[in-house]
Subunit: 225 residues, 2 copies
Amino acid sequence: MPINSDADIEVTAFDWVPEPAQGLVKDLRVRWALEEARFDYRVRLIGLERPPGYAGEQPFQQVPCFRDGQVQIFETGAILQYLGEKSEALLPREPRAKYRAIQWTYAALSSIEPFVQFRALLNNFWAAHAWAEPSKPTFDQLAQLRLGQLSDRLGDSEWLDGDRFTIADIMMVTVLRIATRAGLIGDRPNLHAYVQRGEARPPFGQALDDQLTTFRKHEPQGEAA
Amino acid sequence: MPINSDADIEVTAFDWVPEPAQGLVKDLRVRWALEEARFDYRVRLIGLERPPGYAGEQPFQQVPCFRDGQVQIFETGAILQYLGEKSEALLPREPRAKYRAIQWTYAALSSIEPFVQFRALLNNFWAAHAWAEPSKPTFDQLAQLRLGQLSDRLGDSEWLDGDRFTIADIMMVTVLRIATRAGLIGDRPNLHAYVQRGEARPPFGQALDDQLTTFRKHEPQGEAA
């Protein structure tokens, strides 16, 4: 269990978020990578009311921010790449394989996540808008097109690059979990199985448990079960 | 002028696209980086009706695909990083500066582009939908939040990392050109000036000219001026 208050690596996380976001907050991606590589890290918790000056660290006011000694990084894709350069368990050294992993990390964030995320917002945060329901077919078509293309490419492979697990799988599985929760994966058994393979890895389980344990500890009074 | 039919580097591009997409197609990002680094490249043109088997190269059926000898990459972020590792003109070697550039490359694609792109679609491809107009305030708010945060962070800097131009600026300027064309930048003089600084670089001018010249040559009959 790499959480260690003396670690050089620091990751910011929220102390609590509402239930629909629990298990999806983006520090999970970084925690998972840290667990896979067995790098110790400490967590700096912040509230949804961001602390003064947080925009100086993260211009979009999100989590996580990452720090390793003098290196400071935001954007989970860049953080995973940094960790990949520190650990071959996360990113191959051979240039062709390395760039396949980097390309799929970008693909998860740029070619899949936006289409899945906007469609998911119509189910929850935007559901009360009168335009939400009539706009669903357009957003559905986009999300389903991309998920179908991903499913076609993945085929029966274990991971995006065959039997080699990389940062690209950490990014893609965590992006697909947004789709899973919003019921968007549909009849694509290979994508369901791919997400389940990712979630079955002990480092994922540890990372998720650590995020959720924090939320349980900081449950707002009056909302506790 | 690095277009050279004998070059090792190959980039795919469309032979023609409709006017609203001209100057925004993503091979522009890669052409610009190649011009900045003075790397020769050849162009493989494809039609909007993708050639058979193109999904084997690019699972989302987009341009560009990139090839440099045995290395094959899709996703413009990954391609720019690959070129950055080949040329210090594009990406610093010092680790902290390198990861600042990589983080901003991801930020352009993940934290800015989707919000700008979806808002822009409401002005053109989605304009005829009855839900388009009533959904604009929500999408406007998101796009303006992110553009405002970017403007605050950029301040009076020449580039995203002070006076050092990197792949992050190639990505951010080309993303902001989507916002400029859709009239979304608004009253943010520093963002307008930043885009203009990027567009004023001769390598950008050459790259744009090469993309547009191809489209003029392949203008469908009956639509020529």
